[in-house]
Symmetry: C2
Subunit: 569 residues, 2 copies
């Protein structure tokens, strides 16, 4: 949630503040004493109320850190510097003073504060840089002009030429469903590329907001990971005494004569935990990258006016109450969904890796008596029979039931086909049970892996709005309606008009750029009404004195800005 | 898997035989002695081989029962009568002789044979009816002619007039995504109707095959249910001794002074089991009905040539090896998936109902100390806070951030919006966690409930072919390519041509009907090539002597029959 019209906001700074907020939220949920100065109350009820207070206290407490940057003034930057340094020093000093705590794990309190301190360090470096930049005023102004002109020329042109290409529909995977003549390698390459976010020169700035939000979320995920990781490992290490070994002996994994060797399973469990954690983090990260790609594609498509390519039915891209609420809560929903998804993935992958280790790796490694390889040979003729049944059906279909006739294959021996399909019915039921298991595993894995992607609905009925997907749709709607690049370019031009107070006005090069943009628009727009509107805007831009004779509507950048949306290329 | 071109096969009979086969498969998997005369071998390995043998033995053993009906001759019907009576009497006598068995439950053997005996009774009633019908030859012939003429007129016309309507796309739910002005009641009605299979006069016969398959599957599900139900209840009754009560006391559900009262939880568990079983059966049944509706809609769409409405990309509707294998295994896959889905549903619903009972119903009923109502008041201010946060956001969005301007709502107070969304970030994260849980529950429930529907892919990426969906697609392809109603009508006409052996030929009314059909076709078909083809077919039909001068292609009903597919209305 950054200001829509801010062209080149300090996204990293905002992301750092949100990171601080999230890590304090994590601590708040896990700790008993949510507020710093109030001692832990013995009553559980009182503690609950303090927690609710803390939910409001922390955002207010860290608000100055973000407000200083929003003022865009040297004094603000200076106060920001002081504040961030204060916070940082206090936090580090507190931790150095008493690094240990009587909680879950000795260094738990220290480690859980690491992400908070990292974010504060980022802030305390960022503010001085901003302050120094604001003193060298020219540089900043030049940057602003460059950014503005970038908007005007690059974005407007790219948009109007339609060079941004087709949208990347989330429901379409070229690799898996295309049946054309494109080689598999090329399709795989294309599929993989759809998962990797490559910054595009022309499309980056309007995405900075989403990107920063996502980046903040990713950072928060990493923090959560850190917070969750250490205590868990400690618990595993601490709890892995003889009880677990006894349990394993009871399950028949370890023979009782080996019961003394407790170190091996403990070590394996730790490795499993780390592996599953790394795997789930990587998956979540790649899914977030993927959703960035999809988001950029969706934004581009909506900028071009292709609403039906993104949503399944026509929607009005105007702000509404619901859309506004969804926009406000999008960043937090993305955070919550990512955490939840990471947790589920972690649990499932941990169970899977543990099962794999104890059923396959350990037996192979130590020659203990193993449940799985004991079961396999018993069932081997059974598996062979099923494979044989499938092979026989394929062979029969190829050589006996199909006949080539004039380049087309035709069905023959219909009666035999019926008899064979009757006779193989029981075999096929067993094959079907295996297929059903496979279907369940695939769909469950798909849902778990894609859980954190808000931009896809997990149900196969596209239009049904699941909680997360609904929020994303409304967010996208509002984002597009309020930050269209053409509108932004227009606002840039309006802001740089020579104001009556005698401030530095428009330079000749800027006017030329504006003209280039507007002529490009003229060439691209075809409908008469749109052309008339653009001529009017162009006239008003070059003759600001006429503005007084117009209705008040056009002088408002907001009311103006939404007009270019109707100028579809 | 019934013969494609059989117009009015004895579908009920085939379904009964498949039911027998499935119930013997169930017994085979559960029993130790799969084959009737061979005593149980002590070695586990030997028993496995006998089981595999039994997989082939049972279809061959019951094959005469189905083969007698396929011969369509009086002698066949007579032998079928004798066979089915024999089977039925032997089976019933065996069970009356020794109704008890030392297995899971005393009457388990008797109850597991009930579905088998029911199917045999159906068969032993069906065959005599067929035999009597075959003696009254006239009636049968009249029926055949009627059926044929039905095909010619009703189906052909309906198809060509396009009165069959649009296909029911499985990815589209009018109730949940339509944003038009249709009232909610109407949409709900339409949505509910899409779940209820109403037999349509014009579309029933080509669907009989699918219907009978489904009906057989439904019957088999009911059988499975019976087989699974009784022993489970017995186990629950038998196992519900003091151990469970001790467990409940340990979990704090029952206070220890009530530990003597063991009857109540036992009774509750039984009720839960029955409830979940009934619920899952009803759901599976409604899903099967729904998939019948979808299947009929898909068939109609494909008959009209609208391939893209059913599959997401163009497919060639011609038999291939893969399609043939899938067609052979479709019925068994549907059976296996239904069983698997029922099992999963049963487990999940049982867990849910047990949790609901022990957390809500029993505490309310008996005033025991309850985990849930103990937890609720503690967290009540927490829930209230979250609700309050959502309400505040909605109110702010409505009254403060939106402004009505020229009939359209516009955004105002942008800076305040950013600040509010920053301040409410922690609250929204907690709301988001709840939404994430909701999303998980909904998607898991959706997948579990729709598991047995082979005609939808459970992934939201439509084109990706999950195991079950792939089988269905190929099955549909082959079914459409081989049993197009226009082709069937054409085959009827060809079969009724006066043959040179002097058998009773075509009656004048039949010719008229054929002419009506073909004229209807002429009117409907628009392309020149199609019209030429149909004129050719019409000429050849009325002048069979010309057939000798044609290429061999047209005399083959199969090669012919696929041509009408190109005659789209």
């Amino acid at each position: 949630p950054v200001n829509f019209l801010e062209v080149e906001g300090n996204q990293g700074l905002v992301a750092a503040v949100f990171g601080i907020l999230f890590s304090s939220l994590c601590m708040l949920v896990l700790d008993k004493d949510p507020l710093p100065l109030i001692a832990s109350s013995s009553q559980h009820n009182r503690g609950n109320y303090w927690k609710i207070m803390a939910l409001l206290y922390y955002p207010a407490f860290y608000y100055p850190l973000i407000a200083c940057a929003m003022s865009r003034h040297q004094a603000g930057y200076f106060i920001g510097c002081l504040l961030s340094w204060c916070h940082c020093v206090v936090c580090i000093w507190q931790k150095v003073d008493c690094p240990q705590s009587p909680k879950i794990y000795r260094y738990y309190s220290l480690l859980s504060d690491v992400p908070l301190i990292l974010c504060l360090v980022v802030l305390s470096i960022w503010y001085p840089v901003l302050l120094v930049n604001s003193f060298t005023q020219e540089k900043a102004a030049a940057k602003e002009v460059m950014c503005c002109s970038f908007f005007r020329i690059h974005l407007g042109m790219a948009l109007l030429k339609g060079s941004w290409g087709k949208p990347l529909c989330p429901h379409y995977v070229p690799f898996l469903c295309g049946s054309g003549k494109v080689s598999v390698l090329l399709r795989a390459q294309k599929y993989l590329r759809s998962y990797i976010y490559t910054p595009q020169e022309g499309a980056c700035p309007p995405l900075h907001m989403a990107f920063s939000t996502h980046r903040a979320v990713e950072k928060q995920v990493a923090l959560l990971l850190l917070v969750a990781f250490i205590p868990n490992i400690q618990i595993v290490r601490a709890g892995m005494t003889k009880e677990i070994t006894v349990l394993l002996v009871q399950f028949g994994v370890i023979p009782s004569e080996n019961a003394g060797v407790t170190a091996v399973p403990v070590c394996y469990l730790t490795v499993c935990y780390i592996c599953s954690l790394v795997l789930s983090c990587l998956l979540t990260f790649s899914m977030l990258l993927r959703s960035l790609v999809v988001h950029r594609a969706n934004l581009k498509a909506l900028y071009r006016g292709a609403v039906l390519d993104v949503f399944c039915h026509a929607r009005v891209l105007r702000p509404s109450q619901q859309a506004l609420v969804c926009w406000m809560s999008f960043a937090s929903f993305q955070t919550a969904f990512t955490c939840f998804g990471l947790l589920i993935q972690q649990v499932i992958f941990f169970i899977c890796t543990v099962a794999f280790t104890f059923l396959v790796v350990i037996p192979l490694h130590t020659n203990w008596n193993l449940p799985l390889p004991c079961l396999l040979p018993l069932a081997r003729p059974f598996w062979l029979t099923l494979v044989l049944a499938v092979v026989v059906q394929n062979l029969l279909a190829h050589f006996y039931f199909l006949e080539k006739r004039q380049l087309q294959k035709e069905l023959t021996n219909r009666r035999a086909l019926c008899v064979v399909s009757y006779l193989l019915f029981p075999m096929n039921v067993l094959v079907g049970v295996l297929a059903a298991g496979w279907r369940m595993v695939i769909s469950a894995l798909y849902n778990v892996v894609h859980f954190c992607q808000l931009d896809i609905s997990l149900l196969n009925r596209g239009p049904v709005l699941l909680p997360g997907y609904r929020t994303y749709c409304h967010y996208l709607k509002l984002e597009v309606s309020q930050s269209h690049p053409v509108m932004k370019a227009f606002c840039c031009l309006l802001l740089q008009l020579p104001s009556p107070e005698g401030q530095p006005g428009l330079k000749p090069t800027d006017v030329e750029e504006g003209e280039i943009l507007l002529k490009g628009l003229m060439r691209a727009s075809k409908s008469k009404q749109t052309r008339t509107r653009w001529w009017l805007a162009y006239t008003l831009l070059n003759n600001p004195s006429l503005l007084a004779y117009r209705k008040a509507v056009l002088s408002d950048p907001t009311a103006n800005g939404t007009q270019p949306c109707s100028a579809r290329p």
